[in-house]
Symmetry: C2
Subunit: 409 residues, 2 copies
């Protein structure tokens, strides 16, 4: 065939009108500067490599393929896929999170759940309320669907619901469009590590009813508590109320690479999510996880990781006390993976260059805000991934660059 028959076409002329606005945003995931391999990664929100149950997962895959042979390698047919779903359903029932009309949908990590919810609930006219700061990947997903956001501050007691109420009342008075959806990580939030108090949780749910919005509750860190867990927003909803769509994940407590998350919500929502999820299931990964959960004492695993992360968090905090100037402050988390640090007067995204230079990384705070200006003085540290030795050395290095810049102020 003669190559000249073809004129070079412009691919962009074929783009759907629905995605063009999204593609004007910054490309997802490209916000984070590349971190050299030899850096101590206080930036990585990954589980501790020592806590990823590699051998148990290996044995589970062995067992799975010995028991089920080719079944988990087809589209359908593996009992272990069903077992995974039952396991998650039981977990939700145990935590009082499954109402009579609720169903569970297994997703490829929490992110697929968030994406499916966004796809189902958000169009270019939808107003979405988010926390400031919040999980940047969720922000990126929502921004694929809409440009209308309200952001509400988070403090050491979680989302400032009084502030939310004032904002809502103000919009109502002005005849502005009200949010249909609010996205929150109420427990051990990413990036602040803080937890919404029970009082605020109740206030939030009251506002949801009064102003008629749904709540997406992202609970990726809920099991990673150091002393005690929190009642989820989902479990606060009595009866058959469908107002909360709960997003869970095994990424932070088993292994993110398995990509096992779920959504628990009213069956009307789940049916819509499943509609667009069709054909995107992961039989092998799900069956492997199903087999793993059968062969492991999950509560024991949880108990262990709560202890390990609690100790690592304590270590990070005590090193921060030792090595950072007094002007620098942070919230003390009761669970999760992160410590949120304020360095007054310093642009942390510029400071990152110096930090990487001396071999330590963090995530500049601005990436967690819709209005990045609000986050310039903040940075997120993770104590999850780095070893204890690396935490000590990493904070020492971080202290050095912060002292250097603070002295110049």
């Amino acid at each position: 065939m003669n190559g000249k028959v073809f004129d070079r076409v412009n691919p962009e002329s074929f783009f759907s009108k629905d995605i063009k606005p999204a593609l004007q945003n910054d490309p997802p995931g490209e916000w984070m500067p590349k971190i050299p391999d030899d850096c101590i990664r206080l930036s990585s929100g990954y589980p501790d490599p020592e806590l990823v149950p590699v051998d148990e997962l290996k044995n589970s895959v062995m067992k799975l393929l010995e028991e089920e042979k080719d079944l988990p390698l087809h589209y359908l047919g593996s009992q272990k896929v069903e077992d995974l779903k039952s396991f998650i359903q039981n977990l939700m029932v145990d935590r009082s999170m499954l109402n009579d009309n609720d169903e569970v949908l297994i997703t490829s990590g929490a992110c697929q759940g968030i994406d499916l919810i966004a796809r189902t609930l958000m169009d270019d006219e939808t107003v979405v309320a988010v926390e400031a700061p919040t999980y940047m990947e969720a922000l990126e997903i929502f921004q694929n669907y809409t440009k209308h956001f309200i952001s509400v501050e988070v403090d050491e007691h979680g989302l400032r619901t009084n502030r939310l109420e004032a904002l809502l009342a103000d919009r109502k008075r002005k005849g502005l469009k009200l949010p249909r959806v609010l996205y929150t990580i109420p427990t051990f939030q990413n990036p602040t590590g803080t937890t919404m108090t029970e009082e605020r949780r109740k206030h939030l749910m009251k506002l949801a009813v009064e102003y008629d919005f749904l709540v997406i509750e992202d609970d990726a860190y809920g099991e990673v508590y150091f002393e005690q867990g929190m009642k989820s927003l989902k479990s606060l909803c009595g009866g058959a109320d469908p107002r909360v769509l709960y997003v869970g994940s095994l990424s932070k407590v088993v292994a993110p690479g398995m990509r096992i998350g779920w959504v628990a919500a009213d069956q009307v929502f789940i049916r819509a999510l499943a509609w667009f999820k069709k054909d995107l299931d992961q039989p092998f990964a799900q069956a492997s996880m199903g087999s793993f959960l059968e062969n492991v004492d999950l509560e024991k695993h949880f108990t262990n990781l709560r202890k390990v992360y609690g100790d690592k968090c304590d270590l990070l905090l005590s090193e921060l006390e030792k090595h950072l100037p007094d002007s620098v402050s942070w919230y003390v988390p009761k669970g999760g993976y992160f410590v949120w640090v304020k360095v007054p007067g310093v642009d942390t995204s510029k400071l990152l260059e110096d930090a990487v230079e001396v071999g330590v990384s963090y995530v500049p705070g601005k990436y967690f805000f819709l209005n990045q200006e609000e986050g310039l003085e903040y940075l997120r540290l993770s104590f999850s991934y780095a070893s204890e030795g690396d935490i000590v050395e990493g904070v020492k290095r971080l202290g050095k660059v912060i002292w250097a810049v603070v002295e110049d102020l």
Copy 2:
């Protein structure tokens, strides 16, 4: 918290305006009647269980976790994920399918590729051209985005491009909107098993240029040839022409449950697909497949499966000759998984009840058509999944119910 605070809300009142039209369709995947377990499944387009390399995959997972430990269980970091991508890229280069401006995106099976392409290219005003019949899962996906379709007949030489040309000319004359995208399975098509001739392929690409539409080439069966392969549409495009988006898959040649597919297309398209794919990667499954491909002689595996499926196809065809009335006809495939059968005067979806009664299943033809009326007399048989013994017995049973109904005509 007082349960009575909550009024029961109507979940549907929160649905995005973009998805409401989709949810008016029949629910995806619910078209197929449930088949009892003891049926001989001539309906299943699954690989032969004997050809699914269970032991090799098991060993590959072992090797992977021994070599890389926790790396493939995080979000990032596994070299084997990179190796999978390189392998697929090299495969594409070997088949002359990768132009200078092209990139490859690994997807969760071909279906995620098709969904991402639809999301990128289709909105509620887009006209999409499809084959009649065609792969019903692709139809379902496209119908999530648009209601505007043109369907063009497939015969024993593949898509009838003369008919397409006439339709396009007619629409142009009438000032009707022209298709922006055409979806085709040119080689060993699902469900007809037929292959587009080289002449028609060239004609199709000429029409694509003349009428300015893109071609989605679904090549899930391309490697499953009995005697020789076909040059893909993608490889027919000379130079750097971005007109074909190629969708490949390891589902039919390795294992569907691993969900490894890919899209090869101009980088502008790939960048947009990747945008919406973000966070939906599958490190563990991809790394496992990367490890498998390193440890297996894929060409030898392909050679074997071509022989096995060729023999099973011959067997199915010779049994059809023996057991079916003369009025029943079918195409003779040169590859793939399927035989497309015409039973004149018979509604095959009604006949399925009788067939299941005697213990054999097939897929009624109507499900492969946008206008289901066109498919009433057809049925799709798969020789891929059933054993040779089951093929013989299954066709005998099928012959019985077809003879019974034909004698009544």
